[in-house]
Amino acid sequence: MPAAVERPVERLDGLPAMGASFARALVPSRKGEARVPSHAVRVEGVRQDLDRLAEYSRVCGYTLRNAVPATWIHVLTFPLHVSLLGDRRSSVRLVGAVHASNSMTMHRAVATAEALDLEVHAEGLRPHARGAMLDLVGTASVDGETVWEGVSTYLVAGMRVPGEPAPVEREPFDPQPPLALWRLAPDLGRRYRRVSQDPNPIHTNRVAAKAFGFARPIIHGMWTHAHALAALEGRHGESYSAHVAFVKPVLLPSTVGFRATAHAEGLDAAVTTRDGSKPHLLMSVRRAS
């Protein structure tokens, strides 16, 4: 974690409705220099909607527990991602930005009854061979105690950031037959949209998906992440870190492979093509100290 930076905080009365801010976020990034807001957006006292959590759990494959999954808190912070990049001071837009990797830490079990203070800011704008990369850093806290942290790394193709791109490190992948098959239904994008409230049409609409270069709609990367984490629930303890690399999108409908291995340091998992030869998502889960 980089040293804490004092940054202005813009407090919102509640989580922004996705309509207006998403409409702004939908306007594609202009080519040019990437700029992101320097302030953080914060909303306090967010109560968790149990009906939505239950539906989220059903769609992702989680057991509905008193302790909520890390990916659920990511979903709660998502409107703040949209709001931050929908800001006039941002030349980067969320649509067209590709979610490249994601890291989260649950510092302790978060109960369904707890109201959360959520905050998101952008940092680490850096050059990439294909454009610019940046991190959206989120925290969830209860009475000043940080209970969850998340870093979503996005790649914005075609935008410039001064400097030389750092060499890209490829996550190691070893082709192996999958241990499980996931059969993803054509309406999965629609079902996940309802619980994640991420209205990006590339997940639900064939024409929109084509416009972004995909033959069919693709499932949200955070669904794939959630479903992989759900497959390991009960194995990772109450406090854990989960890191994923989104290697290649999963088209809908399709059948993909899944495998997981436990070792001394934690759990490693992969969502792969059906034959296990190529990765869609690579995940590692570690016990948080």
Binding site: L50, D51, T63, L64, R65, N66, A113, G234
Partner: protein, 422 residues
Amino acid sequence: MHHKVVVVGGNRIPFAKAGGPYAQASNHDMLTAALDGLVARTGLSGSRVGEVAGGAVLKHPNDFNLTREAVLSSALSPLTPACDLQQACATGLETTMYIANKIALGQLDSGIAAGVDSASDAPITVSDPLRRILLEASRARSAKQRIAAFAKIRPSHLAPLAPRVAEPRTGLSMGEHQALTTTRWGITREAQDELAAASHHRLAEAWDRGFFDDLVTPYLRVAKDALLRPDTSVERLAALKPAFGGPDGTMTAGNSTALSDGAAATLLATEEWAAEHHLTPWARIVDAEVAAVDHPAGEDLLLAPVGATGRLLARQGLTVDDIDLFEIHEAFASTVLATLEAWQDEDYCRDLGLDGAIGTLDRARLNVAGSSLAVGHPFAATGARIVPTLAKLLHERGPGSRGLISVCAAGGQGVVAILEAV
């Protein structure tokens, strides 16, 4: 029994009214929550337990391996085997005896007995004629045969079916059956309301003194049994309208159990295993007995435990006076009251093949921490709620204290068990 079987812990989620706070939770969700709470409390995370036996009365066809799937979602080692059992409202007591018997025989050194039910997430099925047509269509070898099968569908086939809480052989609901028993045994409205009020007051006292702190784990914003009404009274209960037995009936929503959601689990082990895991044995499982009555021939549907109680006490050489605490499941207040009447009825007991009346119970020793009227009654969970509750109550009273559990069940059946503090 060869090995001494001890109850070393228990955990449940607070019980709640159907359609209430757990309306979105499935049997799988609630059973996993009950297991994980037990695992956390007993330090068994990642451990292989000998076996887990669980069950649900209202069960979806996809949940054929409900308990095993819950184990896989829980923090227990995935190498922990599990099976599903079902004995209607006595499921949680039957799973306890299944695990206890295996431990007693030396087949296991530890095991978890559990039960869960959701009346909110009940399975809805298609009508029997429609199901047969769909099966015929799936067997069809040509489009013509398939069309012929589908052509048989009538609008009346399309209505979905919710599970009915009626006895298949009599068509009477459990409440309607119990209303007949209530009248037959002359159980008054006042006595039923008194028993119901006592159940709420005793459950409230038990919560207030922290008795459930190591027996219950909060779930979905519910920290305490949601049906509990600490301030209810005989007067308030007297104002309720009859729910069963017609306009002159004495059974109301207040002195009958509500449809409920919840899950419970209890950890059983040998004394050696308990010592190795630094767990304090509360009570040992002494013995158990099942019984049935001929309810299609008119016998009282929910009084089967009476015969089981008489035979069990006789086998153990015990009388009612040798038992310190009684847990009689409150399906309805009048079920408990009719059971107590039957226990002291010489002729009734002799007709059951017993040597004479079972005896008269001092009500101060009955359901001392409340029972199903106040806690709620998620069918299969009730037995797994009562076992650790009674074991802990006996442990508080000291070694040698004995307790008897009596649970009635659909189909004119009942399960009775004796526990003794160690």
